[in-house]
Symmetry: C2
């Protein structure tokens, strides 16, 4: 397809497509003449990834570049590349305090790897600190319920990564950025459903 | 305690405590002299709620006021008050399109109430739209797994609301604002734990 059709197919403005080409985020088309190029389904796919990262996940282009670089070349250590890619998603937390005592205690309690180098460890520490400051710290009972249910989701996510048409990095980054808002909205709606059934129908 | 002790206990700057008093967010202390007042554990608690809403949840003071108003007077219909209070938390979505076809289909599929008036319905619609645009729409299998696991969390949340020392509105708002980041961080860490066990140890 021509570049105009590519823009139309993906809903990305033509000027933006050209900008991505200049910046090297989108691979060049196949030249079919002195001033014309042809674009394929691979280009459509790449634009969908960029669009999801910029508009749905709200990432700055600089972070998108890091992720695309990891998609194109994850290197020999896929585990590290996955960690780096997901760490490019918000929230961004960096601390001089490298210990994260609350996150460590929680992860040890549920038998998970504790690694202060994971971006999500700092994220968990801050989230737990906020619950404690509000007098709503995680009880052991809440932790066990949450951990078990979340594990069920995460196991499914990883199983589906293996069968996905997406590369592991694409799947991990997009699956984090795109399914997190779904999960939170579904939890709020489950609360309303359960509350409606207990407190009587709405309205 | 004196106002200076109140500020110290809660970690809220004295000038901010005085501002909340002037704005009526914090109830006045008990006068013990012409220019002195005494503050109680109720004041500590209220400041903790305000602090959680402003700093952990990142709410503007205008939204905090709405929530505090509902905490102080939920009115006769607790279900509506809960909905209004949680709708004061981000993300804020309003649309001219009042139908939300994706959210409706999902909620009908899992047998939950569909109400386009719930703020989280619009939130879910947008989240689902983003997954589809990226070619990662929710499969039925993913939906069933997510719905079941999230239901387990939500059932627990509601059970604990009944035994909580907090008012239902406080519990619902803080439990939404504070546990959402915990859930997301725990899911990311569960992914890393499972991936590490499959792909070999990190580092």
């Amino acid at each position: 397809m021509r570049i105009s059709a590519l823009a139309e197919r993906t809903g990305v403005p033509l000027a933006t497509v050209k900008y991505y080409l200049r910046e090297g985020l989108l691979q060049p088309g196949i030249l079919t003449g002195a001033t014309q190029a042809r674009y394929t389904e691979d280009h459509v796919h790449r634009l969908q990834v960029i669009k999801a990262l910029t508009s749905a996940a709200g990432l700055p282009l600089q972070k998108v570049k890091v992720i695309l670089g990891l998609i194109d070349d994850p290197g020999g250590d896929l585990f590290s590349a996955l960690g780096q890619a997901v760490a490019s998603l918000p929230p961004y937390r960096s601390d001089s305090e490298p210990e994260y005592p609350r996150a460590r205690a929680l992860l040890e309690r549920i038998g998970q790897i504790y690694d202060p180098g994971y971006a999500a460890t700092a994220q968990l520490e801050h989230a737990l600190e906020a619950t404690e400051e509000a007098g709503m710290g995680m009880t052991d009972e809440r932790l066990q319920v949450y951990a078990q249910q979340i594990r069920g989701i995460a196991e499914f996510d990883l199983q589906r990564m293996e069968g996905s048409e997406l590369s592991p990095i694409e799947y991990a980054v997009l699956g984090t950025a795109l399914y997190e808002p779904v999960i939170l909205a579904m939890r709020r709606l489950a609360h309303q459903d359960i509350a409606a059934k207990r407190l009587g129908p709405p309205g």
